[in-house]
């Protein structure tokens, strides 16, 4: 019967494995960039994700080196040798309390540490600045469109962003579930019809980055990676933005802030409102009955629906109240609707929209 204690070979192997795993740890911490493993990093908080990747990879390197090393070493060192009788038995140990406690407690501590670090970085993702540029992206079969503040119409080619400016990106979908992913920014959120998901980040490197849909969305899903996120310097961005605004100027006279006080609804033009609706509202609202939700409810008969005498804010359905909601936006049980500034609506636009909505019966 062999001894119950590990022999010299075991400790030598352990030492070799320790050296290899330390090398692994050093590699993952000291490598100048994560680029062999992840795409180049293009912004904040992607750098945080990279940090977590380094941490997890280095600990995984330790664990995996030891598991694989021991499997191979044991299989060779403790194999049944030709000199052994065929019915030779191994060392009959059943358990070892200390060892078992150790390999329960150490991974538990590691799990706690990993949880703390992950939560910390998760928290960084949650507290990204909200005061920057607000862009909306809508997933469609099979392309993305983008909306910018104070501009009507949707950008359908590329998403332009200024460098070093925090971005709030509101995502939704027009048909099935898509997912918005820019590998270089390390961030992703699903675009789900009927919901708005938000991601916030700050691009820090000028360049063109691929935008990829990562949720299967139909036959064209494979081709939904052709659009790019163009991160440019502030002047270049502004030039693009103003050009884009100019090209859409015939639709609206954009205003920067939420106006205070009641909006005059006199002289609202229903026809202009209809055009505006298809540009500004139709991503989230259908013209069907209330039940037909996209993000918000269907708006047919919003002012003339006997089964809905009240609007979401609890007030009576009057043109003035509709205008108030358009002006201030809404956040509550039905979801979130951007306010006047975020939607880029002028007072005149609101009057036109209310006039249009009033015609729906």
């Amino acid at each position: 019967m062999e001894t119950n204690k590990p022999g010299r070979g075991f400790w030598v192997t352990t030492a070799i494995l320790a050296v290899i795993s330390i090398a692994g740890v050093l590699y993952f911490w000291l490598m100048p960039s994560v680029e062999p493993w992840l795409p180049p990093e293009g912004g904040h908080p992607g750098d945080q994700v990279d940090w977590l990747f380094r941490f997890m990879s280095s600990t995984a390197a330790v664990l995996y080196t030891f598991v694989v090393g021991y499997v191979i070493y044991f299989a060779i060192a403790y194999r049944l040798r030709r000199s052994d009788p065929p019915d030779a038995l191994g060392v009959q140990v059943h358990d070892n309390a200390k060892l078992e406690i150790a390999w329960t407690v150490v991974p538990t501590l590691f799990v706690i540490l990993l949880s703390i670090l992950s939560i910390k970085i998760w928290y960084v993702l949650q507290i990204q600045p909200t005061n920057g540029l607000v862009v909306e992206s809508i997933g469609r079969q099979w392309y993305f469109t983008f909306r910018y503040p104070n501009v009507n119409g949707e950008v359908t080619d590329a998403m332009h962003l200024p460098v070093n400016m925090p971005v709030t990106l509101n995502l939704t979908s027009n048909d099935v579930i898509h997912s918005f992913w820019v590998p270089d920014m390390r961030l992703k959120a699903d675009m789900i019809p009927g919901m708005i998901n938000t991601i916030r980040f700050t691009p820090t490197r000028v360049g063109r980055y691929q935008i990829i849909c990562t949720e299967f969305c139909g036959t064209g899903h494979s081709t939904m990676d052709k659009q790019t996120m163009v991160v440019q310097s502030m002047p270049a961005y502004l030039a693009w933005y103003h050009d884009w605004q100019q090209r859409n100027a015939h639709v609206s006279n954009a205003i920067p802030t939420v106006s205070s006080g009641a909006i005059s609804l006199a002289g609202g033009d229903a026809a202009a409102g209809r055009t505006l609706f298809s540009q500004k509202c139709s991503a989230c609202h259908a013209l069907g009955p209330f039940e037909q939700r996209i993000v918000g409810p269907g708006l047919r008969g919003v002012l003339h629906d006997e089964s809905h005498p009240e609007l979401v804010d609890g007030d009576e359905a009057t043109p003035a109240d509709v205008a108030k909601i358009l002006q201030n936006g809404y956040t509550g049980s039905m979801g979130h609707m951007p306010n006047q500034a975020e939607n880029g609506l002028s007072n005149n636009d609101i009057a036109n929209l209310v006039a249009f909505l009033n015609t729906l019966k």
Binding site: F290, E291, R293, P297, D305, S307, H308, G332, S333, M334, G335
Partner: protein, 202 residues
């Protein structure tokens, strides 16, 4: 009956103490999985209900509570008669057993009739339908319909049990079928307590 002679058979006795135990456990586990089925649909209902459209969704009338309460009382009553039917069978009082079984079946049918009235009123008077009334129609008719189907199956089961017991399939020492029937019927009742609460009371 097929039999195996086994030396030292006392141990075999310990092994399969009683197939009644096995069947009982199997049947209870079946009921557990049925509970999970209902729970999943109830989860779906509560999830949709809280998805921000208000409840009942605008333009939809809840079914009247008076009929539902009466209907519930009928179904719960059938649970009580079923319980005493089994009690009487255990005591050997076959006549009372059969009459209580008949009452149970009758009350069960009454419950289904009540539900039929409720459905027709909803459909013809309030124009609430399964597929055409949004999540209200979907969850209400799916859940109550599934329960109604269970009641229907239960009634068929009870009829079979009654006929079997008339033909003497069960006796005072061997009546697992009746236990299972009672368990099933109680289960149907108890599920209704939950459905009644979540559809009519909250």
């Amino acid at each position: 009956m097929a039999v195996v002679s086994i030396p030292g058979g006392g141990e075999v006795d310990q092994l399969y103490a009683d197939t009644r135990e096995l069947r009982l456990q199997g049947f209870l586990l079946f009921l557990v999985s049925d509970v999970v089925l209902f729970s999943s649909f109830i989860f779906a209902y509560l999830y949709l209900r809280n998805s921000g459209q208000g409840w009942p969704p605008p333009g939809i009338a809840r079914p009247p509570i008076s009929l539902a309460a009466l209907n519930s009382a009928i179904l719960f009553g059938s649970g009580a008669t079923m319980h005493y039917a089994l009690e009487n069978f255990k005591r050997g009082n076959f006549l009372r057993y059969s009459s209580l079984m008949l009452w149970t079946i009758l009350l069960g049918i009454l419950f289904l009739c009540g539900q039929g009235i409720e459905y027709t009123t909803l459909y013809f008077q309030d124009h609430v339908s399964w597929a055409g009334s949004g999540i209200f129609g979907a969850s209400f008719f799916t859940l109550t319909g599934m329960h109604g189907f269970h009641v229907f199956c239960g009634i068929c089961y009870l009829v079979v049990l009654l006929l079997q017991s008339v033909h003497g399939v069960y006796d005072k020492n061997k009546y697992f079928g009746l236990t299972a029937g009672t368990l099933y019927w109680h289960f149907v009742d108890v599920i209704w307590v939950v459905l009644f609460s979540i559809f009519y009371l909250i």
